[in-house]
Symmetry: C2
Subunit: 403 residues, 2 copies
């Protein structure tokens, strides 16, 4: 069984729970953070460091891997676990989020062409979309000009080749600010696509089993709840998705421009409909305050670029815990500030991570000021370590019925 709930919080109104997601590459104790490894690498970290940190699961992006190096070579290597030497549970997304960002940006191409000086990479990507239909999106790879296509069937096929333990159904990520009517149509489209993904997954599973009974059968599929900022659409979507034959549920289309209040409402609305026996993932959300607030709605896993992206900008987390009261406090240290040049204290006095045990603020400041590559490794290590310890506390708090 993929998911096993081990404890249900007794706090009034709370759906928070402890559990385990069991995959062929190990068990994820939930609630858990999902570190982002977009292109098949958690930026700047050797896989062995993820083990040291205690990272339980890593997220990879199908769109990026399809674009480069292509899914064929990943499949030939035995899947992304082997290709990237990531021997831990992996999740892949459907490509939908990136593909629809491209599609949206295509409409703005004319104005974009004027902004020729903006980040060239971005522009090239935006101009690379060829055709958007109800069926999916066609676009030209910026790497070699190959025409690539994302449809529900293609997305599953790509994800099967990538071989992550948890796959996402292809969905339309609804922009913030669209009309009710558009959100309704997009949500219904996502539902139709979910059914096509389930069919395709079943078809490929049978095909793989015919070839080799061990092959790729470990992969499970999550359906994605959409509905935009509209309560009835969100609820309807939750009911529909949860009713399908899927292994888990994800909530998508969050953090696309709405306020934190709105984002949290969207999770609260669907909470009563979330499954008790299957895992629930929140796509693209996972700042400290989000996690602390959203776990109570029954969320098991959170992927978020924040700890790793901020690390590369020199923003280091500090976590303070008053353990008797379970009071969690967090702060950010901007290590590039001049005041740290001569500061020989640890980044986080309470942190027992390898970085805090061996390096000072002054050394990290020195590395960042000189854009030394080691800076990014040390900062990423530390921030992900803090996230894991934060989740240790979250799980303890659930066990104490405090969440």
């Amino acid at each position: 069984m993929l998911f096993k709930k081990s404890y249900q919080s007794k706090k009034k109104g709370s759906r928070a729970r402890l559990g385990e997601i069991n995959t062929a590459y190990g068990t994820i104790k939930t609630p858990s953070f999902v570190a982002v490894g977009t292109k098949g690498t958690v930026k700047s970290l050797l896989p062995s460091l993820l083990k040291e940190i205690g990272t339980q699961v890593v997220f990879v992006n199908t769109y990026h891997l399809v674009t480069h190096p292509g899914v064929e070579v990943i499949e030939k290597a035995g899947g992304i676990h082997h290709y990237a030497n990531l021997s831990l549970p992996l999740m892949s997304d459907s490509g939908g989020f990136q593909v629809f960002s491209l599609a949206r940006n295509k409409k703005q191409n004319d104005s974009l062409k004027l902004k020729i000086n903006q980040e060239r990479e971005n522009l090239k990507e935006k101009l690379a979309v060829i055709k958007i239909s109800d069926d999916g999106v066609k676009f030209r790879s910026v790497f070699d000009g190959t025409v690539l296509e994302f449809t529900p069937e293609k997305s599953i096929e790509y994800q099967k080749k990538i071989g992550a333990d948890i796959m996402m159904a292809f969905d339309e990520c609804i922009s913030y600010g669209v009309s009710y009517q558009y959100a309704k149509e997009a949500t219904e489209r996502t539902h139709r696509w979910l059914q096509r993904c389930i069919d395709q997954n079943q078809k490929l599973k049978i095909k793989n089993q015919d070839e080799d009974p061990r092959l790729k059968t470990h992969q499970c599929l999550y359906g994605v709840i959409q509905g935009g900022v509209f309560e009835d659409l969100r609820k309807r979507s939750a009911k529909f998705v949860v009713s399908q034959k899927i292994d888990g549920v994800a909530i998508g289309g969050l953090s696309v421009g709405e306020s934190k209040r709105e984002m949290r409402d969207q999770v609260a609305w669907v909470s009563p409909f979330l499954p008790d026996d299957r895992p629930v993932h929140l796509l693209g959300v996972g700042e400290f305050d989000d996690i602390l607030d959203l776990v109570k709605y029954g969320i098991d896993t959170f992927d978020c670029v924040e700890p790793t992206r901020k690390a590369r900008m020199g923003v280091l987390f500090e976590l303070k815990v008053k353990s008797k009261k379970f009071k969690l406090e967090w702060k950010e240290v901007d290590i590039l500030k001049g005041m740290y040049r001569n500061d020989l204290s640890k980044v986080d006095e309470n942190c027992i991570c390898f970085v805090c045990q061996n390096f000072t603020k002054s050394y990290l400041h020195h590395l960042f000021k000189n854009r030394e590559l080691l800076a990014y490794t040390l900062a990423t290590y530390h921030n992900l370590f803090v996230m894991e310890r934060f989740f240790d506390w979250i799980r303890k708090m659930i066990l104490e019925d405090l969440i």
Copy 2:
């Protein structure tokens, strides 16, 4: 005793030898490669990886560390070993090489100003020189505008604060193409400076011992042979430097524009005068063919940026050894080439390093194409590993009297 010779090659005319350099931070089996860690980090590598690779000694640059973070904070941290968590033998240079590159470039400032589009960092550095005298060089730090000074006394003071196990005397690195007269004057200046460095080192040693008998006394000092491309100046310099009360000898002013043939001649000229009982370092030289050719002149250690710099450009070493005949062959793999995108073979089929055991050419190509930070770590690891294995073979060949 700093240096202990353990074997002298019996090959006719060879001065090649096996030995050990004993430092407070460990023993260096010679001949040895010295990995370059300019700013107190071997770019992209955690210190623990250096242990895995078998790196024996790391080179840090005084000029860069004086500029940022400053030697005071390094001293406050207990020296560079502690500051950078580098728990292995370290060498520092005198700053002379960089300081005189600045000085030379100052003369070209007017033409430089026209090339405003060239690498900005470089330009800023070049414009920062204030005054050059027989005593040393004054310049303005590009980091915070502080006026910094390099003189023989200052260089030793800086290096004492940095705290590397092996220090270099302050020398003038003679440009390629200068007149005999200029080279003669510069060489004599280097000799006068050597005596001032020895005095300053003695003075500070006594001072430190008064404060704390354990403090910084482990540091030893090498004198630097100069003389440019002129045989008599080189020989005279060798004789003078070796006659001084110093712990080791370095040969400087190589690879500054002359041909490989000329560079090797310069080493050959001084070879008969090199000490038998003290270690000999070759500054800034260490490509495969150089090492194989120059070990026979009695060189014990070589520092060179090539393996690490090439790694960051995606150029990976391949080493092939026909072990019965001790025939060493090397090749370079330009991993950015499109042909590697689908190549699931190892970077070097004969290599047992962590990178070759766990990753393929395709994955490395993918990381480099996407400028993923992990690319630089893996490539640097591999190239330094190959260099260590290359030196294993060099030492075996000496023991077999083949060099």
